[in-house]
């Protein structure tokens, strides 16, 4: 694991509308680290993730994410910030009218890829990484929930992100499939991508222990 810091937060407070939900977060995440965020619904995990990807403005504190200073980031720089991040949600949010391959291709086109040969090469590579080698031509409805979530992980990987932000990515999956997705994400972390993983699934976090941030009573506590 390298020592390169990819997320650094100093006294960050996270706001929903006008009220702060979490105060004074200090955090440093390095390349390839896997970090759990645990806490009840409404404890501020999702709001912190949204702040990190520029969906909510940073109103208080200093934050650097993938080289972007969130305090000064301009609206038109947000797409470039997002390209350094991969985001995975609980609902897979795939385009239902097109194949796995076309889902990935759409995101790549939208993020500036032009060369079709390079696009194909990258798609083949991320499908392989996520164990979907033979699924490129499948439509989302032909896939199981676990496979669909693999596709959204593959989608998060197409721009070779420095960080993956995962918001309850196993929330819709059965325990066995959740473990498979976990193993996949841990492998991705090993290859150098930092992962922030919000969950309230304690079984998962007991089974695959890693550094953990606990969100409670408006504060973040570091465990383990």
């Amino acid at each position: 694991m390298s020592n390169e810091t990819v997320i650094k937060l100093d006294n960050v407070s996270v706001f929903q509308e006008h009220s702060a939900v979490v105060n004074n977060i200090n955090l440093e995440v390095k390349k390839g680290e896997f970090v759990y965020m645990i806490g009840k619904t409404g404890s501020g995990k999702s709001s912190l993730l949204k702040t990190l990807y520029g969906e909510l403005p940073l109103k208080q504190g200093e934050a650097t994410v993938a080289g972007f200073n969130l305090k000064n980031v301009k609206r038109k720089e947000i797409p470039f910030l997002r390209r350094k991040l991969g985001i995975v949600f609980q609902d897979f949010q795939l385009l239902s009218d097109r194949s796995v391959y076309e889902n990935l291709r759409f995101v790549m086109k939208a993020t500036g890829w032009k060369d079709e040969a390079a696009i194909k090469k990258q798609i083949d590579s991320v499908l392989k990484k996520t164990g979907l080698e033979n699924k490129g031509q499948k439509m989302p409805y032909e896939l199981s929930g676990g496979e669909q979530q693999r596709v959204s992980v593959a989608r998060a990987l197409v721009n070779s992100p420095e960080i993956i932000l995962a918001d309850e990515p196993t929330g819709n999956l059965d325990p066995e499939t959740s473990s498979e997705i976990m193993s996949l994400l841990l492998d991705i972390a090993k290859s150098g991508t930092a992962i922030l993983f919000a969950t309230h699934d304690f079984i998962l976090y007991n089974k695959f222990p890693s550094r953990t941030l606990k969100f409670e009573n408006g504060k973040v506590e570091q465990l383990g």
């Binding site: 038109k76 947000i78 797409p79 910030l81 985001i87 949010q93 009218d97 995101v107």
Partner: protein
């Protein structure tokens, strides 16, 4: 563990989920065309792009909130335990309030037993089709229009589709309809019209009414008459000097043949509150009530009581609408002027003067133009994509409303945009148009 194994075996033996057989009706049902485009737009927004998303026929509550009083009343009604079944035809309080609203503001006289409340306009439309139209009956509607094709399909009826033209503000005319009325059961009209934001003139609607009256005289009492479904869900949002007309006020003989679609979804920007209603001849309203009873598509009881209370003070309603219409009008006028300015600068765009609702009809005449990368825009799909990719503007092509695939016209909705977005979007469009050769 045993159970687990058993289920695994069962699923191995069963058909693949995607191959499960369903009814022929469900097999062939078409989802909304707009949803495909919306998926792409949302994906781009997720990637962090600033997109002017003008596709949605809805209101952004941050820009267009429902009346504060209505919001409070809804909460109050839940605390007053208005949480059990509503009356099947709607709460009497609301039917009285609607009757009064129609009398005071709509120029229409319908008693509380000639009004049916439902969960928005869609169940009303469904009930009208179910009540009036048999399988293989003919339904006439013009395109572009909203969802008539789907309701016709759900009834197993035969559609007669009229292509409305820009010369007539995309409103159908009596002479367009006339060749088909002899075999028709239902004529579906909408004014102010979704998706065009245009309205019937008095004369045009009178001509259609006279034609329907004459046809029904010809049929006589033994035959099912030709009915008109008159969707006036946007009637409170008629802008400037324009005036809303309805068949029954213009021609009282139309009363027996007209069933209205109406509600608060658009007038009070309350699309998610789900309070709509229909008014028409008592016999038809009673049958629609019977149909809807089995669907259960009622408006929630608390929302009905709150709406009744809100509508009991029409000063509140009037004041709210003045502000609301000003906000809508500023945006529509802003876009209209912007498009006409671009047109006068020589770009291949056009727009139709907005009259009502939250929509502007616009045109991109860009087929054959070449992009900076040297790609030629060959069809409407290419143009739509270019406008989305380069101008960052998302609008809905008229083919999504049943018009020809090659139609160069689009619906622009202002319900979700801020006033600042208007000029910014026009600038973004100008920059994109300049890159074409």
């Amino acid at each position: 563990m045993l159970n687990c194994g058993k289920f695994q075996n069962m699923s191995a033996a069963a058909t693949n989920v995607k191959d499960l057989k369903v009814s022929k009706l469900a097999e062939n049902i078409i989802g909304s065309e707009i949803i495909k485009l919306a998926g792409e737009v949302n994906e781009k927004i997720k990637q962090g792009e600033k997109i002017y998303n003008l596709t949605i026929g809805d209101f952004n509550p941050k820009q267009f909130p429902i009346p504060a009083e209505l919001k409070q009343y809804i909460v109050d009604e839940y605390f007053a335990d208005q949480t059990n079944y509503p009356a099947a035809d709607g709460m009497l309080e609301l039917r009285n309030a609607v009757s009064n609203l129609l009398k005071q503001r709509g120029g229409l006289d319908y008693k509380n037993d000639e009004i049916l409340i439902a969960g928005g306009a869609r169940p009303v439309i469904y009930a009208i089709f179910r009540t009036l139209v048999d399988a293989n009956d003919t339904v006439i509607f013009a395109v572009p229009s909203w969802n008539n094709n789907h309701y016709t399909y759900l009834n197993g009826a035969k559609p007669v589709v009229i292509q409305a033209t820009p010369e007539n503000n995309f409103m159908p005319r009596a002479e367009d309809i006339k060749p088909f009325i002899k075999e028709a059961t239902l004529l579906a009209l909408c004014s102010p019209q979704n998706p065009t934001g245009t309205i019937f003139s008095k004369e045009a609607l009178e001509e259609i009414c006279d034609m329907v009256i004459a046809e029904n005289l010809r049929r006589g009492p033994e035959q099912k008459p030709l009915y008109v479904m008159y969707d006036q869900i946007y009637w409170a949002l008629v802008l400037g000097e324009n005036k809303h007309y309805n068949p029954v006020s213009l021609r009282p003989e139309m009363r027996n043949y007209t069933v209205f679609v109406d509600g608060i979804s658009k007038s009070l920007a309350a699309t998610g509150v789900r309070v709509g209603w229909s008014m028409g001849p008592k016999r038809i309203i009673d049958k629609m009530k019977a149909v809807l009873t089995h669907v259960g598509a009622w408006a929630p009881r608390a929302e009905q009581m709150a709406t009744a209370k809100y509508l009991s003070d029409l000063n509140l309603y009037d004041t709210y609408l003045v502000t609301q219409k000003k906000k809508i009008s500023d945006r529509l006028e802003g876009f209209y002027k912007g498009f006409m300015a671009l047109k006068s600068e020589g770009f291949g765009v056009h727009a139709i003067t907005p009259q009502a609702a939250i929509y502007l009809t616009i045109q991109f005449n860009l087929n054959g133009k070449k992009t900076a990368e040297g790609n030629v825009l060959e069809n409407t799909a290419d143009v739509t994509r270019y406008i989305l990719d380069e101008a960052k503007i998302a609008v809905v092509p008229f083919y999504a409303f049943g018009a020809d695939k090659d139609s160069t016209w689009y619906r622009l909705s202002v319900g979700t945009c801020s006033l600042e977005d208007v000029s910014a979007a026009i600038e973004s469009l100008r920059a994109a148009l300049k890159k074409l050769s």
